[in-house]
């Protein structure tokens, strides 16, 4: 259709513009297809494309102006990033041959490492999560998959775009060293401009702060190897006292001070909250305390003013409407008392009702815990088996090349061993059927599932390695394994 060619024209222009944070590449709830790493714009239905273009045109002039002072910076970033992207692309192509699945992850992270600006269509109070470039891309896209009007919410998107820029830096863009000196000066200048309300200046600061991170090549590669881990891991930070659950990648952690500038999602802990409350109280209570003051008092690494701001807001709401926060979640929901047809006005009955509710809730909690543990164990066993298989695969390749008649027995031995041994044992039986792409025979064995103490029995039906998981496996399926 007509929209398509015009979009591609727009694309090359927009590619430049995108550095400056033009919004609207991926609108609406329509699922967006990530294009191959060469391109960055998805293929959308025409109406979306048209509206996209309109957006691009609407926003680009406005966007450029605030960024004009930084255009040099951005320009540098972009150029270096494009170089980086090609490198990544090559390496991901190489890997593609070996691991058709994993390449998806890697090529996506390629995109994300270099896709600079996509608007944050979601509420800007919600800080973003991790800094890994792969995750970045997904975030970017996810924000855009929110409704189209959100994409048009320009003022917010500008500020977020800056942060995205810096975050894509975290993605391991090697910044040429000549930029660093420039950025350091700007950093000091920008430091003085930090105010609570100066969203733009703080963004500039964020931008510059992160631009000044020296990310030498080795670390880039290190991060590259991390890219294959799809999501970067949020620290399950419950144990660390008063350290924010900041999610920086290994690369970014080297510059923890600058880390504090980014708008990543903070994972709050009770300890951190304690520190927060203390700081607030020192400053005279939740009404009088300012985010800046609290941030300074808390001295928590990785905590940004945005985190504090949103947290303070929540805190104030929780304090001054303690009844309503509890009730508002129930406002639309009728309470137990109202719904009961009986007259439950007496305190004892209410208490008993609450007790009952507690019991049910406790039940649910208990069951959830059990279920979660089961799920963890299942995956653990699956992983263990996979590992074992890969080991056997390597040693077993020779066997496979040998006589085919001998293959039946080792397999049977293995399946028996796996079927009988408890999960933790190493059966040590060589397996020579190492078709990693094959369908899992084990998973198709439905009758096996019937005897069920799943959490106790071996998890043999690993769908990756072609394991014939149980001795019940019909011969036909076993034969399939050796095809």
């Amino acid at each position: 259709m007509n929209a398509k060619p015009s979009l591609s024209i727009q694309r090359s222009g927009a590619r430049q513009l995108s550095n400056f944070g033009v919004s609207g590449t991926m609108p609406s709830s329509f699922p967006v297809l990530p294009t191959p790493s060469g391109e960055r714009y998805p293929i959308l239905p025409d109406s979306h494309q048209v509206s996209m273009e309109r957006e691009l045109m609407q926003h680009s002039p406005a966007v450029i102006s605030p960024m004009s002072s930084n255009s040099g910076v951005v320009g540098h970033l972009f150029s270096s990033s494009s170089g980086f992207s090609t490198d990544l692309h090559f390496s991901s192509v190489l890997q593609q041959e070996d691991h058709p699945r994993k390449s998806h992850l890697i090529s996506q992270s390629t995109n994300s490492g270099t896709s600079l600006i996509l608007p944050d269509a979601v509420d800007s109070e919600v800080p973003r999560s991790t800094a890994s470039s792969h995750y970045n891309k997904e975030e970017n896209n996810s924000w855009c998959t929110d409704t189209l009007p959100d994409c048009l919410d320009y003022p917010r998107s500008t500020s977020i775009q800056n942060n995205q820029l810096e975050r894509s830096n975290y993605g391991g863009i090697a910044i040429p060293s000549e930029d660093l000196t420039k950025h350091n000066d700007w950093q000091e200048w920008a430091d003085q401009l930090i105010t609570d309300n100066g969203a733009l200046t703080t963004d500039l600061n964020d931008l510059l702060a992160d631009a000044s991170i020296a990310i030498p090549e080795p670390k880039v590669h290190h991060h590259m190897s991390n890219l294959s881990t799809n999501f970067s891991v949020q620290h399950p930070n419950n144990q660390l006292p008063a350290t924010p659950g900041e999610t920086c990648t290994a690369v970014a952690q080297s510059s923890s001070a600058n880390c504090a500038q980014t708008k990543q999602r903070m994972r709050w802990t009770p300890e951190l909250h304690e520190a927060f409350v203390e700081a607030v109280n020192k400053l005279g209570g939740s009404e009088r305390a300012t985010p800046k003051g609290v941030l300074k008092l808390m001295k928590a690494e990785g905590l940004t003013i945005y985190h504090v701001k949103s947290h303070l807001q929540k805190y104030r709401t929780a304090r001054y409407k303690p009844e309503t926060t509890e009730e508002s979640s129930e406002k639309k929901l009728t309470s137990i008392e109202d719904l009961s047809s009986l007259d439950m006005k007496t305190g004892i009955e209410i208490t008993e009702a609450l007790r009952m509710q507690m019991e049910v809730q406790k039940q649910l909690h208990e069951q959830l815990e059990i279920q979660r543990n089961l799920q963890l164990r299942i995956e653990e066993q699956g992983r263990y088996l996979q590992m074992m298989f890969e080991k056997q695969c390597k040693s077993g390749m020779d066997l496979l090349k040998g006589t085919s008649s001998a293959t039946e027995n080792p397999l049977k031995e293995f399946t028996d061993a796996v079927g009988n041994a408890p999960s933790k044992d190493d059966s040590g039986v060589p397996v020579d059927n190492c078709e990693t792409g094959g369908k899992s025979a084990g998973e198709n064995s439905q009758d096996v599932g019937e005897k069920h103490k799943a959490h106790e029995t071996e998890v043999a039906g690993s769908c990756e390695a072609n394991v014939a998981g149980s001795s019940n496996l019909p011969a036909s399926k076993r034969a399939k394994v050796h095809s």
């Binding site: 699922p31 967006v32 990530p34 699945r101 996506q108 979601v122 919600v126 999560s129 995750y135 997904e138 896209n141 996810s142 799809n230 999501f231 891991v233 949020q234 399950p236 419950n238 999602r265 994972r267 802990t269 909250h273 947290h311 929540k314 929780a318 303690p322 926060t325 979640s329 129930e330 929901l333 009728t334 309470s335 137990i336 047809s341 009986l342 009955e349 008993e352 009952m356 509710q357 507690m358 049910v360 809730q361 039940q363 649910l364 959830l368 799920q375 963890l376 299942i378 990693t436 792409g437 094959g438 439905q446 069920h452 029995t457 998890v459 039906g461 769908c463 990756e464 998981g469 149980s470």
Partner: protein, 250 residues
């Protein structure tokens, strides 16, 4: 199909704000079906999956933050009320105290319930993810499931330890706030009469338990990866509670 239905029911009965935060199981299933025919469906699927996870994480952490704040506030509130009741002599009226305590009890029980529901949210989404990945692998003969799920396990929305801890702390607090139980055991009939699960947290909880039970009942693709059937200590209670709820849970 069965899980999808269960999930939908669960969503319908969940707290209103949460309803759009669950896994879009149906859409993902559609994508999986399209994969063999459409070349790009694969990438789209991956893309959607990652989006979903991002969604879970964001929502979960937001809720978690709220819970942390409210937990502390509740404790302080209880402290205040019990302090004013102290032996110093300056006490507010008995009825006021009782009222306050009743309110606190209600609030804390609901708070507990909400947290448990968040854990349930996390779990049901995880279950859905595992299922959809299994379907994907089956369909494409791929090896996506295991590595992907390993990463999911590390995601914030699945690491519910903190919430669990808060729940347990809550339970302890509740024990201290509630008067000692006078009746040893309430007859099942009385129990039903007392607690009609209306809309809201309680009903959501009951629904969650029953859903869990149903999901684990067993399916055509029962395998070593499947969870065993649910083992509720008093399943009858929940069944009867279900009967009382306005919207039936088949």
């Amino acid at each position: 199909m069965k899980f999808g239905k269960r999930l939908k029911q669960q969503i319908e009965q969940s707290l209103p704000d949460w309803r759009d935060k669950f896994l879009t199981y149906k859409e993902l299933k559609k994508l999986v079906r399209l994969i063999s025919s459409a070349p790009k469906a694969d990438k789209e699927f991956m893309y959607c999956l990652n989006n979903e996870i991002e969604k879970f994480n964001a929502f979960f952490m937001e809720q978690e933050e709220d819970f942390i704040i409210r937990h502390k506030e509740l404790q302080q509130r209880i402290q205040r009320v019990t302090d004013t009741r102290g032996p110093n002599g300056t006490k507010p009226s008995e009825t006021e105290y009782k009222e306050e305590m009743a309110k606190i009890r209600k609030d804390i029980v609901n708070f507990h319930g909400e947290m448990v529901l968040l854990i349930n949210y996390s779990n049901i989404n995880y279950t859905g993810l595992a299922k959809i990945l299994k379907k994907y692998d089956k369909r494409t003969g791929g090896v996506l499931r295991l590595p992907f799920i390993q990463k999911v396990l590390e995601q914030p929305f699945f690491t519910t330890d903190l919430i669990s801890k808060l729940v347990k702390e809550c339970e302890t607090t509740i024990d201290s706030v509630f008067p000692a139980s006078q009746e040893q055991g309430i007859l099942p009939a009385e129990r039903q009469a007392i607690t009609v699960p209306g809309e809201g947290i309680f009903r959501n909880t009951v629904a969650a338990l029953l859903t869990m039970q149903e999901i684990r009942r067993g399916s055509s693709t029962y395998s070593h990866f499947s969870l065993p059937p649910l083992n509720l200590p008093e399943p009858d209670i929940f069944q009867s509670l279900q009967l009382l709820s306005p919207i039936p849970i088949p």
